[in-house]
Symmetry: C2
Subunit: 492 residues, 2 copies
Amino acid sequence: MSAYDALMAHVRETQALAQVAGRLGWDQQTMMPPGAAHQRGEEMAAMEGVLHARRVDPRVGEWLAAIDPADLDAVGQAQVREVRRAFDRATRVPADLAAELARKTTAAHMAWAAARAEDDFAAFRPHLEEVVALRVREAEALADGGGDHYDALLQDYEPGMTAAEIAAMFDGMRPDLVELRKTALDAAPAPELTGSFDEDLQLAVSTRLAQTFGYDLQTGRIDKALHPFSSGSGQDVRITTRTALRDPFNCFYSTIHEVGHATYEQNIDDAFLLTPLGNGVSMGVHESQSRIYENQLGRSRAFTGWLYEVMRDTFGDFGVADADAFYRTVNAVRRGYIRTEADELQYNLHIMLRFDLERAMLAGDLPVAELETAWNDRFAADFGYAVDRASNGVLQDVHWSEGLIGYFPTYSLGNVYAGCLFEAMRADLPDLDASLAQGEVGPALTWLREALQVHGGLRTPRDSIAHACKGAAPSSAPLMAYLRDKFTALAA
Amino acid sequence: MSAYDALMAHVRETQALAQVAGRLGWDQQTMMPPGAAHQRGEEMAAMEGVLHARRVDPRVGEWLAAIDPADLDAVGQAQVREVRRAFDRATRVPADLAAELARKTTAAHMAWAAARAEDDFAAFRPHLEEVVALRVREAEALADGGGDHYDALLQDYEPGMTAAEIAAMFDGMRPDLVELRKTALDAAPAPELTGSFDEDLQLAVSTRLAQTFGYDLQTGRIDKALHPFSSGSGQDVRITTRTALRDPFNCFYSTIHEVGHATYEQNIDDAFLLTPLGNGVSMGVHESQSRIYENQLGRSRAFTGWLYEVMRDTFGDFGVADADAFYRTVNAVRRGYIRTEADELQYNLHIMLRFDLERAMLAGDLPVAELETAWNDRFAADFGYAVDRASNGVLQDVHWSEGLIGYFPTYSLGNVYAGCLFEAMRADLPDLDASLAQGEVGPALTWLREALQVHGGLRTPRDSIAHACKGAAPSSAPLMAYLRDKFTALAA
């Protein structure tokens, strides 16, 4: 067997085991009996141990050294590129540091949940200080003798991207977003949804929406969970959704969002099954799919016109006069503190705040002791009102407690990529609005599948977007033009 | 760390991984999307590879060699005994033989399903010949230079038991069973269940029965599946059940049966969690729990009196006049070909037939080519009428296609053990019938938990039963006395 074949056999098994571990996570959120938590912890730890041992297996390094990429085709070269990246990453972090990070983040996560319930940042502060210090050590190990620490962490989520590039992009977007936000909030408020919506009927509409957006239930399933998520790759990609009696949009748009993630995985070339190319290529590109499904397609005037009729057929008259009013309701811009409840316009301001603060923390320019003040100052500057309590501010997100630094910007990168893709798609599909108005998402899905999804991890994240956009490098301009057009018109 | 501690740390992780692999099996039968079969096969194979590598890890042999059992308490000695048994077993079978068995049984299983659908034993015959030949080779490897081949395979299912001992026991039981069977079939037939029974209500009764029989839903869950089964150990023990519109007993007694398996696992001492002692000790002892729950308790006159009222409350008048008639309906003995549909009396005759035939096949005394004839001859001798087609005869069970030889006798061993336990339980609980008549299974469950279940794998299977029966060695006499009393009275 050639070194390449031996490497790929090893990697395929590792990928299969990673799918098993991922499904344990799905099970924990959907099916696990409540009393099984301790045992499940042991099971997860054992799986992590197996996966880690395979990822740092010295044979991987030997196979990589024995392979001459010139002997391989483009797919083989891409496989090797991804294996090498994962191997370098796994072998650079000392095992005791990884173990300490796992321990500390588990403790920090519990401390965060308790602190959030009490609106007490001071109680969380020492835990976050330890987590940041450990992530700095990890970044030093990953950067391996040089390079930006934030960039080192970012590579886990968005390979090839740099913090400087993101900062330049975000800094360019921010004034316009703040301005647009003011315009939207100064306008007459959108009609609010009132009344209650049967939750079984919500789930029925949700399943219909999932199928409308191309989710294949032959290789997927939908369950209820506390938080919506998508889990798994290849032939077994499961999503969850949730219902709230008075807020059917939460159910519907969560489902469409997760279907964006899930169909990306389902649509990857079968030839890449259980290989490093068989997953979505980065968090940012993944988020571009969930966002374009949810926002550019799902919250468009054309598609909401169809959804309005579906909701009327399902729930009867629910107090929204017509499809134009419904479009405004779906896209309402309201005051609020919470990122996960934000509209597609304000969402990016939430992300930019977090990106700047976590970058400063990691660089040592912002002591954790000053984080809450910095958060509140920045929020007041961008949103125009003061944070009222820590659970509505610095304690609202789980990420930092879990050591996730470098992850936040991928959400807005996803929006930026979605903007690029949507511009290119519209150029190719002049009749897009007409089909969306009939609830026909098919042409858009086919375009996304062929331009991007089918290729999985074949190209780098940046090149994946550029390939889909016929060579145009990712830029924030299309997203900003889209947001300006949409929310200026809505405010008129 | 001492060799014992190092060994146990390794073994605990292996047990945790085995739980994960087992839960994949559960998922496959309950939750898996239909299109995920190929990927699931890869996932299962990868997990099996990991488990096998850990089971034959040379360090296990080194730790075992370094441990002096005299340094350990009784629990430690039992742990080492179980680890040694598993290690010897795993290391004796050459990897290529194990791989060939996995391949051939997969093919044989598919061939069996096709042959059964066509009632065509000849189509299955070459596959079974290969499987038997491979199992003979495996038995030679396991017996390691001597010893009975059947005994070597039997150790996987019922450690410490021998084929000669089982044969002597079964040969002693068989004439009485044939005689009792005649008596039962000559009597006036029991009232048949007619009408239909709402399947959601069946599930509600089934859940109530599961809880009545002590199933803890904090560490378990009930789902529907094609075949009822119990899966998992420790804090995560799941069962499945099924419904048929006209046959609620199938649902109810399948549930009680699986709850017997599941509560055995749930009730094992927490100190044994994820260790070799943290599972039911053998197939036979496991089956003794499912059978005593299902039959000696669940099909008793006293308990069926309570169940009759539950069914009347749930389904209204369902055409059975009173609790005495209901008891006869529940315990009806009818003609039939199929093992899994047999009553508790005839079931054992089905097992004895299979035990004698598979033992002869393995010994080379019965060529596979003559198996169907031998089956049909034996069936006519014991049941009094001819097999009408292969799917009602030699092709009815999946076991041999999967290479399971040595497994069948554990079903009847379970009945024998259940007979022993029930005799001892009745001696300790003089008011058992009075509580069963109130639907109170608690005293019986407490007795089983304390006498047997809590101890898990601490003692050998034989000693586990003997311990629960205050030293009395397992014997078929209590079961035969129970069956004679019950079915003679029912036939009167």
